[in-house]
Amino acid sequence: MSTEAGSGVKRRDFLKILGATGATTAVVGCSSEKVGKLIPYVTSPDNTVAGVSQFYATTCKECATGCGVLAEVRDGRPIKLEGNPAHPVNRGAICATGMSAMQGLYNPDRYRQPMLRENGTLSPVTWDRALEVLGQKLGEVKSRGGAGNAVFLNAHESGSLPGFLDQWLEANGMPAHLSIDSAAPAATIATNRAAYGVAWPAIDFNAASLILSFSADFLDAWGHRVPQQLDWADARAKLEGAPKLVYIGARRSLTGLNADQWIPAKAGSEMAICNAILGQGTVAAAATAADVPEATISALVAAVRGAGSGVLALCGMTSPDAVECGQMVAEINKANGSVGTTIKPAAAHAGYEGMASYLDLVDAVERMAAGNVPIAFVRNANPAHSMPAGAGFADAFAKVGFKVSFSSYPDETSELCDLIVPDNHWLESWGDAMVGADQRSLQQPTLEPVFDTRSTADVLLAAARADGTIASRFPQADYRSWLIANFAGGSSAFATALTQPTIAGSPVAARATRTAVSRPANAATGEGNMFVVVYPSATLGDGVGANKPWLQELPDPVTKIAWQSWVEIHPMTAKQMGVKEGEHLTVKTAAGEITAPAYPYMGVRPDTVAVALGQGHTAYGRFAQNVGVNAYNLVANGWDSAGNLAIGAMATVTRTGDHSPLVTTEGSARQHGRGIAQAMMAAALAGPDEDHGHHDIPGLASQEFLPGLKSPVAADAQGEMANPLSKDKGQYNPDHPTKAEARRWAMTIDLARCTGCSACVTACYSENNIPTVGASYQGRALSPVTWDERPGANILKGREMAWIRLERYYEGNTNTENEFSPDFEARFVPMMCQHCGNAPCEPVCPVYATYHSPDGLNVQVYNRCVGTRYCSNNCPYKVRYYNWFGYGETDRRQYAWPEPMHWMLNPDVTVRGKGVMEKCTFCVQRIREGENRARSEERELNADEFTTACAQACPSKAIVFGDAADENWSVAKLAYDRRAYHVFEELNTYTAVVYLKKVNHPAPAAPATA
């Protein structure tokens, strides 16, 4: 710059420039995050370490089974439910419904405080006001002497609470409460009580050699699902000696798909089949009634005779003649002497004792309709949704003087009530459940109540103690002290008892005996061109689970449809009616009609359609409202001879012409020769192992690397042409000080055990903060101003996020459109990231967001991923999932955990933001936690010290995880089982997940083998 005056950059300009550049550096340089807080305790509670989980044992109250559950509590709130390994009922397993209780606890739509109906609308009130109104109303009813006509409807549960309720009701001069459960197998309970004297005898699959299931879906939603599935899987794991299952029914349920043979008996023909088996009826009559070849029936009769005391006949029917059929089935067991070997009344499960029949409920509704019920209480039951429209519950309920609801959810029934006194969730309250005649499983709260709710028993105690006349009969102030009062050893013994899975003893107070209402059966099947089967959904039950996004997003184990109702119709019938998948069908029975998209399913008889219960809520919350249709509208208000709701009916099915795509996660249900789900006959197990025997083709993937499960990590793929410089293999060097390379995390999945129940999918959602994407507010924009509000819209675009999915491939019977044949097989394959040694997804990632760790994991680093999605394109298993929207970002419209549901997020796992790829990580946080704990205790990892969430929850114990390089781990032995194979071996990916072939058995009642 020239220095003469007036020219060149003046000093002042220069300083200005310097200032500006300095400013930009400063702005960019220092990170201006706001300062975070480090809040200590005032006085730190004993034996709690902030950031380390505590496990509290409690009992699951989602259904009557009463599984033992460990609630993982982190910093004062449960974040996950796991099975209690020591509990005799579920032995460490837990089902999808059990785990989803978390979403019931933190449900954003729960009542947050008491509500009172003032001039027509329910408005929040304080607890004092609510108790005052309750006391005043009770006083009025008792003073006017109408207490004798009160009605208390409680969702059925075993344990001491029913006894307490009856004590309270009796004290107030009110009749005993009705313990109702519309999803329970009422007809089977009635026949069990008649035939074996107990509501639910123990079912021993291990002792059985031939199981006849008359629509008894013991792997779906019938009876005590988890213990049944545990025993079933253990029995089937005996491979050659496994019991054979014959499923007799009009619709092949999940249990049917696991059966060795399906006899598609026409609805109502079961009685004839039983007669044929017992020899009281002719085979020909049974064959014509069931519309099944005569040879099959005679083969069935011969097979039953051959099985002797190994026969286990179960009846799960709900048709008008269900009770009579149940008795005939019991006869079959007795005739073959299998009572005591396969059916054990002595070791009965006490879950269903004391359940009211449907007739009792109808009687109560009629009394309400007659207007002489002054006060009605409802707790956790939702008859407004789960009763046939014919019963007219809503109008009857309207005539009740004062309606009190203890339910904590705004479901259809509590919306009709005048006073809502929200109950604590079972994870927030004390209690117990009876799992055996003398086996009591205690229940303790795992956190301070999330909202301003109180346990019902405490509310009732408060009301009773406020009423001078009966205050003396209730000395204890709250339910806990009531439980402890009569507990041998007082509260200290009670505290230690809480840590036991079950304790001996009976409920504190017994249930009051009640004379069941009995009337002659009045169920009629009505008329129509097709039969309709209405069955409780395996995940949503009859509607209780509808407001939980995990259960809505979990595809139905059979049809793989989520967030929707559907009508199952046989492809042949669909073709005759000119109906394609997704076209709306109207199913009209005498009681009512529903319209839903058609789902061609070859597992129903051509003359039958099937609809699942559970959907169609008009209230209940953002995830359940106007999703699907309520199948109860199809059911008439009829009951069988034991007073239970009879569901079977005839219907006319018509096309409506409009169409909505099925929200399904299934691409194609056929393997197209890819060999993903492999199976072998049980007999072949005796023969030579031809798969892994000879090595005639060197380098053949299926033989070469199977024993060498350890992939050639870091061995140079180009062999000797490798770059000599790459000798420094970093941690992949076996003698690197960290010894990381010595380990090889692997997993085996036994397809012989897996029943396709999808509990592993929900366990993965719960452990790894996987977002649910199907809610109606999570769709994408169809145009700058309109959003796709359909429920399941994202799943229509194939964007579900389940890291592990349950694939259901069919075998056989490919000509389903033209001919009906029941002989097809379904194979279930849990498919997750295979953590391949030669992972195709790793070399294509441009930023090392995915690589192969020395201990055999295919790692996905969320904060390094830029989202090119090439890895998902290159993955032959398609197990990588992408965050299309900010499901994990709180300020997003598509946020997946509306407050307070984000409390259950696992703090050890990153919640992924938008634009990032995610996949199964073999629960790397559990591996780290195990390794950190081992290092803190200065020892090596013990064999089978920890496992992944899916393996832990699996009710079939089909998944085993561990270090395949260390032979003490059980996975190391299983990985070299003769049934072991890798999916897509020919792609040379060296997967770390080894599948064990499914073992098929010849159809027991096939004509050829009779």
Binding site: D716, Q718, N723, S726, G730, P843, H852
Partner: protein
């Protein structure tokens, strides 16, 4: 620098003028022409351009840098992807090739700029806008005493215009 400038309109006359000037060796000759003409190049008979050396060095530098950065970063933080070697040189050949082309071309351009001495900030002596249009120009830088000889020679070869440049 001063010298004589002659503007021609025809190609053959320009070539003859260049050859005579070369024989007469009166001063170094700069020829302006609107485009590349081989006739002029042969008349000038200048040595082959050195740009090719720049290209060679640039290319070799590029390929070695390409390989080096790939292998060094691979070894710096050894992460195995897809069972491939940490420093697997086969894919790195592509990087080597691309960087070879990049550095090769840029060094060629640099070579051209350096040798042709552009970008040129000062205006040049003896340049006339017509030489980028349709005319050829010959500029002979010589002392004043030889200038008249040069002018005569240019006139002889039919230069349209001859003038002295300061």
């Amino acid at each position: 620098m001063q010298g004589v400038l002659g503007a021609f309109h025809e190609l053959d006359t320009t070539c003859h003028a260049i050859e005579d000037l070369k024989k007469a060796r009166l001063g170094d000759v700069t020829v302006y022409s609107p485009t590349i003409r081989h006739e002029i190049d042969e008349a000038i008979d200048a040595p082959n351009s050195v740009v090719r050396r720049f290209t060679l060095i640039g290319g070799l530098l590029g390929v070695s840098f390409g390989y080096w950065i790939s292998i060094w970063t691979g070894d710096y933080w050894p992460l195995v992807t897809g069972g491939k070697a940490i420093a697997s040189w086969i894919p790195y050949t592509i990087i080597g090739f691309e960087v070879m082309v990049l550095v090769g071309c840029l060094s060629t351009v640099a070579g051209m700029f350096i040798n042709a001495r552009i970008p040129r900030l000062t205006t040049t002596v003896g340049y006339d806008p017509r030489f980028s249009g349709g005319h050829f120009g010959i500029f002979v830088s010589c002392s004043a005493d030889k200038a008249s000889q040069v002018e005569a020679l240019l006139q002889k070869h039919g230069a349209e215009e001859v003038r002295r440049e300061a």
